[in-house]
Amino acid sequence: MSLEKFKNRNVGTQNYKKLDLTHPPKSAWCKFKQVVSRTFKPELCIGLWVTLREMINALFRKKMHTTQYPFEKLPISPRYRAIHEMLRLLESGHYRCIGCGLCEKICISNCIAMETRYDENQRKEVSEYTINFGRCIFCGYCAEVCPELAIVHGGRYETASEQRASFSLFEDMLTPIDKLKLQQEYQGFGAVSPNADDNIKKTPLAY
């Protein structure tokens, strides 16, 4: 499709469909007829009925719209990007982060700060990991880039707090070890696609 169609800003010449509006009455007699028909048409009563029906729906058929927010919450999309979570390996319970530093590197607002060191097994160990949520714009790049699916976005969107620091330490974001069974994989940026298995090809080692 060419872009020409969208570049045309001339509103009048586009394919707008006009509603079949009736013409304004011309003669006095037509005006009178319009007044009479509008007077005796039950349109006003239909309006009354609609509101009454909605009242009955709300009161007796459990169709009240209101969500009493702090007490009830609407479900949010699994792709929602709220406060981050650090996930653990399901088998061992160890945190997934391998300290590669990609998230720190890619973060466009420079809000991830981390320090790593080698532990006694010469494995990378995360000694410091904080996210400055005063700067984070919840872009999701960190979750997308993480090779281990370690840093993901969670569902905690109520981020008003006395101190921003209350969310941002590694231990705060890490899945508590006793909640390991409840840990959910993240569906959003960087997640494995549902048909990932089909897309795996054998590495061509035969060359």
Binding site: L44, T51, L52, E54, M55, A58, M64, H65, T66, Q68
Partner: protein
């Protein structure tokens, strides 16, 4: 009526009734705001006031505290005296009007055997008096809007004048036909005329509808809430008012709604006569409650009209209808 019963009208009795009217109607007017918010909410599938007290019932008290303790501001260039008097006019006339409408059947206080007619004063021109009082009540908005040196207030009072010019003729003419049938201006006579169970609305359906329409304009309710329409003129005549002065306008408006409800039920809907197994006082409460509900219902359902549309409606549609109605009523009465 028994001859042994004491004659009724004593000064003490009238004062007690006046105080009762003041207390009960202000309470009901306050309660009316709660009901209005609840019903409007339900009609839009919301919950309405919910958290103050059970089902939000104590919201009234919260509102009252707010109104009473708010700072009373008089704008710099306002005419102080008129600014202060205007809300009193609205509230006072609303209550004075209620003095001449009967609500309950006459009754005898048990044990003391005092016969009490349940009307503060049965003026023989009751209808005229009440309508006149309610019309005088519109001086409140008119003066308030002009005194506050605010353009929105001024627009509000201009609209008050328009409203005043429009509905007043319809109210009078629509009530004229029932008055001709009954042959009296006293509410008590209207009530006894319908004591055989035939409501006047059966003879005068058009007059009833016309009166309701004019009544909505008179009480400044949607679809005719031109005086303080928020979407157009900020708050109209109450733009500069706050605290208790604003509250008085509010109470006056709700008291007027109740008055219109009472007049409509007494003149057209059989008043406080017993009906089937229901005693009269239940019937009249039910009727007033229904008419009050109707006002809220209409507010939820219908958009409001422009000032010129209101004038057009009143002078070109409703007034001719009312006149025709009066003429036909007269011809039928002469023929019978």
């Amino acid at each position: 009526m028994d001859a042994t019963m004491l004659p009724e009208v004593t000064a003490v009795g009238v004062i007690i009734k006046a105080i009762l009217i003041l207390a009960v109607i202000s309470a009901i007017a306050g309660f009316g705001t709660y009901i209005e918010r609840k019903i409007l909410a339900f009609m839009q599938r919301r919950l309405g006031p919910q958290h103050v007290g059970p089902y939000g019932l104590l919201q009234l008290i919260a509102d009252g505290i707010k109104l009473f303790t708010k700072e009373d501001i008089i704008p710099q260039n306002a005419n102080r005296i008129i600014f202060a008097v205007a809300p009193v006019i609205t509230a006072a006339t609303a209550f004075i009007a209620l003095g001449a409408v009967p609500v309950f059947p006459d009754f005898t206080i048990p044990f003391v055997d005092v016969y009490v007619p349940s009307i503060a004063s049965d003026v023989n021109v009751g209808i005229l008096f009440v309508l006149g009082m309610m019309a005088a009540g519109l001086y409140g908005p008119l003066l308030a809007g002009m005194a506050q040196s605010n353009k929105w207030g001024l627009l509000g009072s201009a609209r008050t004048a328009i409203q005043f010019l429009s509905y007043e003729v319809v109210t009078g003419l629509s009530l004229l036909a029932p008055i001709m049938i009954v042959g009296s201006l006293s509410f008590v006579d209207f009530n006894s005329y319908q004591s055989n169970g035939t409501w006047l609305v059966l003879y005068q359906p058009i007059a009833f509808i016309l009166f309701l329409i004019a009544g909505y304009a008179e009480t400044n309710r949607t679809p005719f809430d031109l005086l303080e329409h928020e979407a157009e003129i900020v708050s109209g005549y109450v733009t500069e008012y706050s605290g208790m002065r604003w509250g008085m306008f509010f109470i006056g408006e709700y008291a007027n709604m109740i008055t219109i409800g009472i007049i409509a039920s007494i003149v057209f809907l059989g008043g406080y006569n017993d009906w089937w197994i229901f005693p009269g006082w239940i019937m009249i409460i039910a009727k007033i409650a229904f008419l009050f509900f109707l006002m809220l219902w209409v507010r939820a359902a219908w958009p409001h009209v422009r000032p010129d549309q209101l004038m057009w409606l009143c002078w070109k549609v409703l007034m001719p209808l009312a006149v025709i109605n009066v003429v036909i009523t007269g011809i039928v009465m002469m023929a019978i």
